[in-house]
Amino acid sequence: MIPHGGSEERCTLCSEKMKDRTDSLYCGYCHAVFHRSCIIEHFYYNRFCPACKKKLSFIDMRYGSPPKPRLEKPLRDVQYELVNPEEYIPRRVRKPQWPVREEVPLFRITPGRAAYGYKPRRGILTRVHGFVFAKPEETTGILGRFRHNRKGMAGVYMLLAAVFVAILAPSLILYDPVSYMVEDETYISHPPTWQYPMGTDVFGRDIYSQTIWGFRSALTIALPSAFLIGVIGTVVGLVSGYYSGSVDAVLQRVSLTFLVWPSVPFVALIVFSWGGSMANFAVILGVAFTLWPTSARAIRAEVKSLKSRLFIESAKVSGASSRRVIFRHILPNVVHITFLYITIAVASALALEATFNFLGLSSPAVITWGQMLSFTYHAASARFGVGGGMAWWTIVPPALAIAGTVLSFFLISTGLRESMRVSSVKF
């Protein structure tokens, strides 16, 4: 083995000093250092290391200077480390890891789907996953963790797309979704063509335009009803969780009542009784009435567990009224559950709205996805027998639109639920 020259390393071939670090290569076996130009010239004619005569080629040479050797010191030399922390020399030569574990990289570069702390394989091209501002495990706050949740963010992007489509609907549609009908009879109930990208329905209306327009009605029904569900559920849950006893008993019975009411006939009867001019409002109200009990129950359970906590006790002792305790001290601690249940409620509200639009309970002048399905169902029933012979292009676009919108809210709720709890275990 060739002795090391300390900090002043010299090329083994030409005995000149090294200019800089990039200029030097060393043999992985004998740690002899060479100039780049010298060793390239050597390997042009030979196939062995000039120092240790081992059979090698240029690609076996390593860049940089060889690792410093371990000093012959006794084990557990604490004195040495304490006295000279600047000159600490590691005992073992570790393989360099990249990126350095202690630093947060600008990009997350992973081979496949590995978790954050990984060991990259050399030479394999890895995937770049956008900017990483912090480790997802150490991110604080629900929203911070939600940002790193794949499901939740996928739901948010899907929802944003739906909202954009709903806003831009007037410029996206090709024909008037309600009043336009094809004049040529061959195009009635026609499969997709360039002229009608998703085909036409039994009346000869363009399905693409109807599907696009459906986003508007779906969101205008679902969002207000979800808001109502959040408000009713939170207030009832807070009150019935805080005041145990008779108030709680009464509210529990009421919520059980609304839970066991079959939802579709309930909404149908509400629409029948208050329908007509304010059919939309009746629909919103009906959906809200049927779906609030689940959120109220969840919030009640959470309030019950919060009630025995110390900060509530101290608030009571300091003379706060129960209204103040409920809305100032408990509400901020359960509001995340409200949001969770609102997102679930939007999904259920969309599904329910589609269901009773399918039953033909809303105005035929308003295009909704459930109504599109209803039209094709009843037209095919009249023509071919009950529920048969529907054309695929009349079912698939509205069904996919319902599925996508419901799924977006559902994914958001899943992401929220996953980011609400801090779990160290990945499952």
């Binding site: 059980l256 579709v264 009867l269 599904a351 319902i402 599925a403 994914l411």
Partner: protein, 332 residues
């Protein structure tokens, strides 16, 4: 001691159920009364003579003030008296009771199957399967949970019944209830059910698929929550395999919240299921209810809502008792 407690628990639950039925029917009364277009008599026979109408109004107490109408209605609800005339032999309640076994057959099979399959499949797949399988399960069940059941019913019926003739349609015409009680009614029901079994396959598959999603999702959720608990660490430290820890220790404790959630899931199964009945033309309460809703035939609507509520409450009580029996933490 425990048996004594169970009877008190049951009594409490039954009182609860009666109160709930009372509230449900009160809301129904409110809704039916606020429907515009005249009262029930005007709706059911618009061209009757004034005398007939007066008789009908007297029978249902519609000529009295509103609170008395309410009392008469409640009395009729709790005495199961849905006659629309004095001499009517087959009331709507009789008709619905005739269709009740078929509804129970469909929903009961669907609920039990979805829970049994959900629990066993969930434990198997979640603890023995790999990461990718787990993701696939949760993805598929989210999709099935999110899409409304009637969309599946519609398209499955369109393609599998009408398009490719894989499943038979419901082609059994039920005779309906007889005016006089016959002892052959049971054999008639059994024969009808046997004839309906092939047609039950598709609605059952859809109900099970839709009902399967919630147990699977919840099981995965609760298992994830439990993985942080110390008993998992203990089991792992004992040297048990990961699959054993998951299936024998984690999944079994994750089943208990699943049971308490079942009562809410049943409500969803039933309210989604009546529409599936309607779409598949299944001879059950749901189909009758929708037919009645279409022409606003009040007696059938009331009877159907009453029966559905009773079914749901009874099954909820069953689930609660089962839950109390299985879960030592639940005090009776």
């Amino acid at each position: 001691m425990k048996r004594h407690r169970i009877s008190i628990f049951l009594a409490k639950k039954v009182v609860d159920a009666v109160i709930t039925i009372f509230l449900v029917m009160s809301i129904l009364f409110l809704l039916l009364n606020s429907i515009p277009g005249g009262d029930m008599v005007t709706r059911s026979c618009p061209f009757c003579g004034a005398e007939t109408k007066a008789q009908l109004r007297e029978l249902w107490g519609l000529d009295k003030p509103l609170y008395q109408q309410y009392l008469v209605y409640m009395k009729k609800v709790f005495t199961l008296d849905y006659r629309i005339t004095h001499n009517q032999t087959i009331t709507s309640m009789d008709e619905l009771l005739y269709y009740l076994p078929y509804t129970l057959l469909l929903f009961g099979t669907a609920a039990i199957l979805s829970y049994v399959i959900g629990v066993f499949l969930g434990i198997r797949l979640l603890s023995w399967g790999g990461n990718r399988l787990r993701t696939a399960i949760s993805g598929i069940s989210i999709v099935f949970y999110a899409i409304p059941a009637f969309v599946f019913a519609l398209s499955f019926k369109n393609w599998f019944v009408f398009g490719y003739h894989i499943f038979p349609p419901v082609n059994v015409r039920l005779e309906g209830p007889a005016a006089v009680f016959e002892s052959s009614i049971l054999s008639e029901h059994l024969a009808n059910m046997w004839a309906l079994l092939p047609a039950m396959a598709l609605p059952l598959i859809i109900l099970v698929l839709v009902g399967l999603a919630r147990p699977l999702l919840l099981l995965k959720d609760h298992m994830t929550l439990l993985l942080d608990e110390p008993f998992v660490l203990t089991a792992t430290a004992k040297g048990l395999a990961r699959t054993t820890v998951l299936s024998k220790h984690v999944a079994r404790s994750a089943l208990l919240p699943l049971m308490s959630d079942a009562s809410i899931n049943l409500a969803y199964i039933i309210s989604g299921g009546i529409l599936i009945e309607y779409i598949f033309d299944w001879p059950g309460i749901g189909t009758e209810l929708f037919a009645a809703l279409r022409m606003l035939y009040y007696p059938t609507i009331s009877a159907a809502i009453f029966l559905l509520t009773v079914i749901l409450l009874v099954s909820m009580i069953c689930v609660d008792v089962l839950n109390a029996y299985l879960d030592p933490r639940v005090s009776l």
